[in-house]
Symmetry: C2
Subunit: 249 residues, 2 copies
Amino acid sequence: MESPVPHEPPIYRRIADRLRDAILSGDLRDGDRLPGENALMSEYGIARATARQALAVLINEGLAVPKRGSGVYVRRFRPIRRHGSRRLSREQWGAGRAIWDSDTSGRPYTVDDLSITREPAADEAARVLDCEEVWVRRRRYSVDGRPVQIAASHFPALLVSDTPIVVPDTGPGGVYARLRDLGHAPAHFTEEVRARMPTPEESAKLDLPAGTPVIVVCRAAYAAGGTAVELNKMIMDAASYVLQYDFDA
Amino acid sequence: MESPVPHEPPIYRRIADRLRDAILSGDLRDGDRLPGENALMSEYGIARATARQALAVLINEGLAVPKRGSGVYVRRFRPIRRHGSRRLSREQWGAGRAIWDSDTSGRPYTVDDLSITREPAADEAARVLDCEEVWVRRRRYSVDGRPVQIAASHFPALLVSDTPIVVPDTGPGGVYARLRDLGHAPAHFTEEVRARMPTPEESAKLDLPAGTPVIVVCRAAYAAGGTAVELNKMIMDAASYVLQYDFDA
DNA sequence: AAGTGGTCTAGACCACAAT
DNA sequence: TTGTGGTCTAGACCACTTG
């Protein structure tokens, strides 16, 4: 028997490991350029495909972003903080210390691609809203000109047809204020949170580099009687968000 | 000038698109085998590397899992539901309808790799717990023999030294009951949720296939006076979890 | 033993960015 | 114009799984 030598990782892995260490240790900082394919080929005496493979590791880990014709760069991470329940939020707890740094500066959202359509209710919407026809408000949010979230709010058609909810400008307070006007003020929310890799469509709409997951938040709003009045499905660039939830014991 | 023909996607993308459609439409189901490299080579008349590239797309999207020496298979997705605040939870709201299907069956966790150490507090722990030395309980949770989460609970050293919190078996009610015994019952929680691609270390500990993000939950527990008494950092296999949060308007 | 995915070489042509 | 990443071919050897 051969002596059971522990397997060395393949070359491309070792190169990726070195580069990752440089990024995580701070040797390479946000926006810095990584050694390119040619540099790696000559430095390590490897073929083109192998150098690409090493860089692909970091790209798929979300640590680096390739720019065509230019180079591969260390990725930036500046998340937005999104509060689940503001009422219980950290102002009175923990002396305002956040766990992760984030952009608290309240930079303004812009909305584009707003569309309002009436459709047959699909899967989740049909089950939660318990109806067959829905009005859907779809929109995309951007911060600093970069898209960060796409959202689709579903309302039972019977509830909102011919109301301000199905026109572009819902007025002060937004759709929740209008639901209140209709006697269906949301009293309770439940949010379900998942994370996964984006579909190509989501990737395009959010302009995501490879290696970026999306956070999927599905929020149902219930009126006081327990009827579901809204189902909002949000797809967020995971590199752009920190979600915060507060609750009492 | 040439007529501006819209670019066709490269071959490997088109193949990946076809396979993705087959998966999402249900033609290929959970656990089914995808056409392998050789099959794609002969079917499309392409080189090995190109076939690999097509499969790599699906693998990095988390839709497929490669098995060495065997084939590439459609990935299974059966998440566990984790409740943020049980008290407000869906029992009384929405007639118990969950938005996403999930394993409600309460399958038991098993814990392995439990370790309890005293360490200097690092970055987040130092800031939130406002101390320089912490006790850390690290453990890994598995369900059905598959690891799904690693967690590290941090406690201020001054608070918990020589208490049942720093021994393996914390007794009925766990660490929160013991904190209560010490007069530091948690009264408020705040959780911060992020998603990102795993580090190689996390990938190894959770045995993650490529294309699987992790959900990172950082939970701080505060006693009635507002002092932080615990910081728990959890790394979860994103394909294994749905997080649920309930709150009132 | 045959088939599969994992790694790697040595070329090629292209589109795009920087200069 | 030069260098960069993006795509692709045509081979090769290996480790592993399955029959």
